[in-house]
C-alpha cells in the first residue's frame, strides 16, 4: 500500500523563454516566430495599460471616479495571451485583464466611456468602473462575483464546438477564460474545469497567480502545487508559465489554443505566475498586510514591461528617448479621452429600468411613471442635468 505524499512529488516546472534581464534562455531561437513590429505593439499595449493605470488610480484618489483597479505586474499575462487569440475567439475575463481588452482593440475612448459610465459606455452606465465589455471581438462584460465566468466559459466553448460541427465553414474558435488563484478556490472553478473536461470543450483557462487574493496570501489559499496541479487531476493538458515573460505567455497560449482545437476540442489550463505589485483596488491599502519592502523588491527585481524593454533595447529596437516620447504621447492620449469622457452626458434615466428583461414589464413601466411623477413633484430635490434628455430620458 502506498499513499502519495504530495510533498515528495516533483513540482510542475515553470516555462520560460527569457530571463529577468531580457536575455533569451535559448539564444539560438528567435522568440515565438512573431515579427518585431508585433512585439513592439505588445510593448506599447503594456505601456498603455500601465500609463492609464497610473492616471486613473490618481483620478480615483481625487474623486473623479468611484473606483479603479490597476493590473501592474500582470500586463504581460493579459497582453501576451491575448496576442495569441484571433478576433473570433471569445473571452471571459475577471477584472484585472485590461491588457486583454487593449490587445484586442478596445480603444482609449471605450475604456474611458466605461470608467465614467457615460452615454457611450457599452454597459449603459450600469456597471462599476473596470467592468468592460465588447461585442466584437467578443469579451463578455466583467461581472464582479469571482469565478462565475469559469463554467460559463466551458458552456460557451461547447457552443462554439457544436457550431463548428454543425457548420464546418465556421473558423475554428476557442474560449479564453481568465481568473485569479483566489477565484480558483470557488466551487465554480471545479465545476467549470470538470465539465469542460467531460464535454471536451475548446477552452483555455488562464489562471493569473499573483500571490494575493486581497490580503490572503497563497499559503492560506491552497496547499499543493499551485493551481496547475489541479488541471492534471481533471485530465486537462496543463502548463505553468512565468507571467513576467511575455514570450513564454504568448507561446504557451498559442500552443494551448492549438491543443484546444485538436481532437474535436479539449480544455487546457495555464497557470501564469506573477506578483500583484498594486493594491487589490482603490478600496484597498495592501501595506496593512504586506511589507512595503516586499513590493518594492518585486518592482525592482522583475516586471513584465521592464523585461521586454530590456530585450527590445538589446535588439536595438528601443531606447531611452523612444521610451520617454512614447510614454508622453500615451499620457496625452489618455488625458484627452479622459477629459472628453468625463464631460460627456450620462445615459438617459430609462437605462435604470431597461435591460432587466428583453422588454419592460408592465410593473416597470408603472414604476417609471411613478418616478417621473416624483421628479416632477419635487424638482428641487433631483439634479438631472448630467443625464441625457433630463427628465424626458425616462
Amino acid at each position: 500500500m502506498t499513499f502519495i505524499n504530495p510533498s515528495e512529488t516533483t513540482n510542475i516546472p515553470t516555462y520560460r523563454v527569457m530571463d529577468s534581464d531580457g536575455v533569451l534562455l535559448d539564444k539560438n531561437r528567435k522568440p515565438s516566430g512573431v515579427s518585431n513590429e508585433e512585439i513592439l505593439t505588445w510593448y506599447k499595449n503594456m505601456l498603455t495599460v500601465s500609463v492609464m493605470d497610473v492616471i486613473m488610480f490618481e483620478a480615483q484618489r481625487q474623486g473623479r471616479l468611484s473606483f479603479y483597479m490597476v493590473s501592474a505586474g500582470e500586463e504581460g499575462i493579459s497582453v501576451g495571451s491575448a496576442a495569441a487569440l484571433t478576433p473570433d475567439d471569445v473571452v471571459f475575463a475577471q477584472y484585472r485583464e485590461t491588457g486583454v481588452f487593449q490587445q484586442r482593440g478596445f480603444t482609449l475612448k471605450d475604456f474611458m466611456s466605461q470608467l465614467f459610465a457615460n452615454c457611450h459606455d457599452n454597459g449603459r452606465g450600469r456597471n462599476m468602473p473596470v467592468h468592460y465589455g465588447s461585442n466584437y471581438p467578443r469579451m463578455h462584460t466583467i461581472s464582479s462575483p469571482l469565478a462565475t465566468q469559469i463554467p460559463q466559459a466551458s458552456g460557451a466553448a461547447y457552443a462554439l464546438k457544436l457550431e463548428s460541427l454543425q457548420n464546418p465553414d465556421t473558423p475554428p474558435r476557442i474560449v479564453a477564460c481568465y481568473f485569479g488563484e483566489g477565484a480558483a478556490s470557488e466551487g465554480d472553478f471545479h465545476a467549470g474545469l470538470n465539465i469542460a473536461a467531460t464535454r471536451s470543450c475548446p477552452v483555455v483557462f488562464i489562471c493569473r497567480n499573483n500571490g494575493y487574493a486581497i490580503s490572503t496570501p497563497t499559503l492560506e489559499q491552497y496547499r499543493g502545487d499551485g493551481i496547475a496541479s489541479r488541471g492534471v487531476g481533471y485530465g486537462i493538458d496543463t502548463i505553468r508559465v512565468d507571467g513576467n515573460d511575455i514570450f513564454a505567455v504568448y507561446e504557451a497560449m498559442r500552443e494551448a489554443r492549438r491543443i484546444a482545437l485538436s481532437d474535436g476540442g479539449k480544455p487546457v489550463l495555464i497557470e501564469a505566475m506573477s506578483y500583484r505589485v498594486s493594491h487589490h483596488s482603490t478600496s484597498d491599502d495592501s501595506f496593512a498586510y504586506r511589507a512595503r519592502v516586499e513590493v518594492e523588491d518585486w518592482k525592482r527585481r522583475d516586471n513584465p514591461i521592464i523585461r521586454l524593454r530590456k530585450w527590445l533595447e538589446n535588439e536595438g529596437l528601443w531606447d531611452e528617448d523612444t521610451e520617454r516620447t512614447t510614454r508622453e504621447q500615451l499620457r496625452k492620449e489618455v488625458l484627452k479621452e479622459f477629459g472628453e469622457a468625463e464631460r460627456e452626458k450620462k445615459p438617459p434615466l430609462r437605462e435604470a429600468f431597461e435591460g432587466v428583461y428583453e422588454e419592460l414589464t408592465e410593473e416597470a413601466q408603472e414604476q417609471m411613471k411613478e418616478l417621473k411623477r416624483i421628479l416632477e413633484t419635487y424638482p428641487e430635490e433631483y439634479d438631472l442635468r448630467q443625464f441625457k434628455d433630463g427628465i424626458n430620458g425616462l
Binding site: 474623486g63 450600469r126 486581497i214 435604470a352 428641487e380 433631483y382
Partner: protein, 385 residues
Amino acid sequence: MASLRLPRLIRPSGRRLYSGAASPSSRLNLPIDYKTTPLLHHTSSTLSESLELPGSTTSKSMNLYQAINSALRTALAKSEKVMLFGEDVAFGGVFRCSMDLQTEFGSERVFNTPLTEQGIVGFAIGAAAQGMKPVAEIQFADYVFPAFDQIVNEAAKFRYREGATGVHAGGMVVRMPCGAVGHGALYHSQSPEALFAHVPGVQVVVPRSPSQAKGLLLASIFEHNNPVIFMEPKCLYRAAVEHVPNEYYTIPLSKAEILKPGNDVTLISYGQPLYLCSAAIAAAEKALGVSVELIDLRTIYPWDRQTVLDSVKKTGRAIVVHESMINYGVGAEVAATIQDQAFLRLEAPVKRVAGWSTHTGLQYEKFILPDVARIYDAIKQSIEY
C-alpha cells in the same frame, strides 16, 4: 502614486463628480447628518435606559465597524466555543470588523479561509453541529449566493431533519455587509434579506446602529440556538457613531422597537433607511402637521408582528420602507399581514417605499433606492388618502 501630479486637464475638483450629489436646492434629499440624527445615542445619558442596562454601565463612542469588533471581541473572550473566520479576516477584514482579533485570540479561532463562500458557510454549519459557535464572515452580501444551498437546504433544515437526534446548526452566525453606498452598482449594493426571510429555519437580523449591532450580534451568538443571518448596512460602518456599552449585553431577536411614538401614520423600516425615515418624518411633521410613529423591525424574520399591528391599529396608516427591491420584498409580507389583521382599522392602503424592481445600476442608484423625498411623499399621500 499618491504624489503623482495630474496636469490641469484633470486638476482636483471640489466635490466628488461621480457621486449623485444632492441638488443644490434640495430641502429633503440632503445627506444624512449622523451627528445630529435622533436615532443615535450621541451621549451616554440615554443609553442604559433604552437598552435596559444598569445605570452604572460605562460606554464608549464608536462607529458600527468598531461596535461589531467590540461584540466579536466580547464573544471570543466570553466563550472558547466562538470562532471567527472568512476571507481576509486575519488582517482585520476589508471593513476592519475583525481588527486585532487574531492577535488577541490566536489563529486557531480567528483565521482566513480560502475564497469560497459555500465552503465558509458549510464549514460553519459543520462546526455548529458539533457544538461550536462559529461566526462566519461573507465579504459582501452580494457574494453570499454560492452559499445559498448551504443556508437554505442545510442550515435552515438541520434541526427539522435531525428530529429526535436533537442536533442543529444553532450558534452559527453568518455576518455580511449589505446595502448601497452610492457607487456599488450591481455587486456591492444588494440587500438580500427577503430571500433569506423566505426560508423558515434561519433568523434574519439587520441592526441600525453601533449599540444595536453589538447587542443583537451577542444575542445571535449566545442567546439563540438558531442559525442567524446578520446583515450589516455597510454605509453605516464609519458614518454611524454613538455610545456603545463596554460590557456584555444583548438585545432580544424577533423584537421590534418603537423609535418614535406617533398617532397618524406608522413607518416600518430597518437598517439604514431608518435614517431617511427619520428625516422625512421631521419634514412631514413640520410641513403637514402630522404625527408619525417609527418602528425598527430589527429582526426581519421571524418578525415582531404584534408591535407592528398594535401600532397600525392605533394610527390606521402604514408605510413600509426598505432599500431592496419592492417586488416580493419584506414590505409585501408586512403589508399583507397588516391588511389581514388590521383591515377594519385602516384609513389608507398600506404603502411601500422601496427599491424599484431593477438592479442597482451605477449611475441610477439615487433614483432607484428610496430617498427622503419619496418617503415624505408617501406620508403625504397616506394622510391625504
